[in-house]
């Protein structure tokens, strides 16, 4: 029993330091003290993630701009978290499930979902613009950490269907304090559901810093309490995110149950445009994190190895601008929503009570338009 517990401890605990493969200067890091073997992703893959991060960041900046112009009701930016937003997504397939939060618009765009459909929630024309079943992507979730249990259920469902599809669920550092985090990890473990819980520890829950959220050595230490293997990773190192995600995906696909990843990163913007981060943190802190930029470091690594040249960089920048222009243009057309659609999707079929309410609204609208026309 002693050996069992000790073997389990060794297998489940995260590395004492976040896994890092490329440091902020672009230099390769000597692996030491990590609990598992994390090979450096191929140069092709790093080019791919670099490209996607450049586009992702541009998309995010465009969304922020649209918010300032009043085109979006609200926007929670993930600037600075590109390695997580993009890296985690590039590590799964279209058949796998993704369970995003409100913060993860960049991840959704990276997953190939139409950016306008992604922004529907934040523009305010619908609660979710894309088709969750067709895209294997749940609606962005606001009630914190509730989506983790859905992910456990969907992952278990895939297992029951005999597929090797996994589920990837994003969650913030603050949301790990919710009871649903606990229940999700436990259900996933007990049912050996192939789900990866990916914590974007961006150090703040709105204004509340991590130090007020937990006293754990790190959030990844929560895994062992469920018998769930866990790892912590430098969430601003795209190579490390890919490597740890690859390991987690393989772990899940091969039937070893769920995996918990804590990615250390930083939210460079305010919580949303409605927030004012200067009320609770210093600009020095932000500046320090700017120096740990995920795009710059992988760019440096690629350039250092001759894997990236100015032409490619220029082409990617152009692609990013084209994407931004497309988003801008398509978001600049006014959208109208049929008020009668209010009654369509409460149930598969309207109840008499819905019919009644619908008739009332229809009559109001008819009266309004009569007034206008008369």
């Amino acid at each position: 029993m002693e050996t069992t517990a000790q073997a389990m401890t060794a297998a489940l605990l995260p590395s004492p330091n976040p896994v890092q493969l490329i440091d902020p200067t672009g230099a390769e890091v000597e692996q030491a003290g990590t609990r598992r073997d994390y090979p450096m992703p191929s140069a092709a893959r790093l080019r791919e993630i670099w490209h996607a991060m450049v586009l992702g960041r541009r998309f995010d900046a465009q969304a922020t701009a649209l918010t300032k112009q009043g085109r979006l009701a609200v926007y929670p930016s993930s600037r600075g978290q590109e390695a997580c937003q993009v890296g985690a997504i590039l590590s799964i397939t279209a058949d796998d499930w993704f369970f995003p939060t409100y913060r993860d618009s960049m991840a959704l765009a990276s997953r190939g979902i139409d950016p306008i459909e992604v922004l529907s929630l934040l523009r305010g024309d619908s609660h979710c613009g894309y088709d969750p079943i067709a895209t294997h992507t749940a609606a962005q979730c606001t009630p914190l950490s509730t989506q983790l249990i859905h992910a456990a259920g969907a992952a278990y469902g895939e297992k029951r269907r005999g597929t090797d599809h996994v589920a990837l669920a994003f969650i913030g550092d603050g949301a790990t304090s919710e009871g649903d985090f606990h229940e999700a990890l436990n259900f996933a473990a007990v049912f050996e559901a192939p789900v990866i819980f990916f914590v974007q520890n961006n150090k703040y829950a709105i204004s509340v810093p991590l130090s007020k959220q937990t006293r754990a050595p790190s959030l990844a230490y929560k895994g062992i309490g469920y018998g769930v293997a866990a790892e912590q990773v430098d969430g601003n190192d795209p190579a490390a995110v890919l490597a740890v995600m690859d390991h987690a995906v393989e772990h899940c696909r091969s039937g070893k149950g769920p995996f918990l990843i804590e990615a250390h990163t930083y939210r460079l913007e305010s919580h949303t445009n409605a927030d004012d981060a200067t009320r609770y943190r210093s600009s020095d802190e932000v500046t320090a994190w700017l120096e740990r930029d995920p795009i710059a470091r992988v760019e440096a690594w690629l350039r250092g190895r001759g894997e990236l040249n100015d032409d490619v960089v220029a082409a990617t920048r152009a692609a990013a601008e084209a994407l931004a222009a497309e988003v801008r243009e398509r978001m600049n057309t006014d959208v109208t929503v049929d008020p009668m659609s209010l009654f369509d999707n409460v149930f598969a079929q309207r109840t008499p009570q819905l019919d009644e309410a619908r008739a009332m609204v229809a009559a109001e609208l008819a009266a309004d338009s009569q007034e206008v026309s008369s």
Partner: protein, 337 residues
């Protein structure tokens, strides 16, 4: 044959499991034990651990897990062990179960059933006797159903499992052992059809679930006093069968609403408000409401006083201005007593 409500529910689950491989039954103690009320008795041995299984002890987890399973095509039927023990799942129920179809513009439906033994009358300790239907009925996007006999228990549970939308299925625990002579499977009635349990001409008694037997007893007793009472069992609270209720009250001209839950802002209030609204010109007297008291559910020894019983219903009927004299209960503008 003689079937208890518990037996009928068990049969409904069994038939649903047999009819569709996508149906899964899970919750606390529903596997080997067959549930604390034995409603899932024998299902694991008959259909295997894959189809009917125990989960960790966490209600939010159970409901959330069911949501996830729906995404992969399953039709989960989950059990909450008692009314008050569904509260940990309240966020999952209100913010996800009720809203999923709506928030995904119709793309994700949740064909799941949440079974909840509810209401009192069994001498249970605290937290085992809540009438929680009001919380769910007030939440748009949930269907709320409660049977009052074995036949309806079978019929409504099968309907619930086949329904494309989430159903809160409330099982009156005091009626689990009530018996009925029926053949199973019995004919099914669609959601939204109330049932006239007793015909009457003088007053309509609208009720549901746990309170139906009390209503029938009260109607019987009222007959002795010369009042012919029609008893309507809603069966589904959402959707609501306005037609049956309104037709009856317009004919009788008097109405009493009976529900065990505390009255304030509950389903009883809704029924009273609806009837007052829709039958105003037919009403000879204000709609009477007989409800649980505005207190937490008491310890077992006070249960009898707490529960709205036959006497309280008869009192309410008696106050319906049979002599054309206004009832003076609320004559003062402020509180009486």
């Amino acid at each position: 044959m003689t079937v208890t409500m518990g037996g009928a529910l068990n049969a409904a689950l069994r038939d649903a499991l047999a009819a569709d491989d996508n149906v899964l039954v899970f919750g606390e103690d529903v596997g080997t034990l067959g549930g604390v009320f034995r409603i899932t008795d024998g299902l694991t041995s008959e259909f295997g651990e894959q189809r009917c299984f125990d989960t960790p002890l966490a209600e939010s987890g159970i409901v959330g897990f069911a949501i996830g399973l729906c995404l992969t095509g399953f039709r989960p039927v989950v059990e909450m062990q008692f009314d008050a023990f569904a509260y940990p799942a309240f966020e999952q129920i209100t913010s996800h179960v009720a809203k999923m179809r709506n928030r995904t513009s119709g793309r994700v439906g949740l064909p799941l059933v949440i079974r909840i033994p509810y209401a009192g009358g069994i001498g249970g300790v605290e937290h085992h006797c809540d009438s929680s239907e009001g919380y769910y009925a007030h939440t748009p996007g949930l269907k709320v159903v409660t049977p009052s006999d074995a036949a309806d228990a079978y019929s409504l549970l099968r309907e619930a499992i086949d329904d494309p939308d989430p159903v809160i299925f409330l099982e009156p625990k005091a009626l689990y052992w009530s018996k009925q002579e029926i053949e199973l499977p019995c004919t099914r009635a669609p959601f939204g059809t109330a049932k006239v349990r007793r015909d009457g001409d003088d007053v309509t008694l609208v009720t549901y679930g746990a309170s139906v037997p009390t209503a029938l007893k009260a109607a019987e007793a009222a007959a002795d006093e010369g009042w012919s009472v029609e008893v309507i069992d809603l069966r589904t609270i959402v959707p609501f069968d306005d037609e049956t209720v309104v037709r009856s009250v317009r004919r009788t001209g008097r109405c009493v609403v009976l529900a065990e839950a505390q009255g304030f802002a509950g389903v009883g209030a809704e029924i009273a408000a609806r009837v007052s609204e829709r039958c105003f010109h037919s009403l000879a007297a204000p709609v009477g409401r007989v409800s649980g008291l505005p207190t937490p559910y008491p310890a077992p020894m006070l249960e009898k006083t707490y529960l709205p019983g036959v006497e309280r219903v008869l009192d309410a009927i008696a106050r319906l201005q049979w002599d054309d004299q206004p009832d003076l209960t609320y004559a003062e503008v402020g509180a009486r007593g």
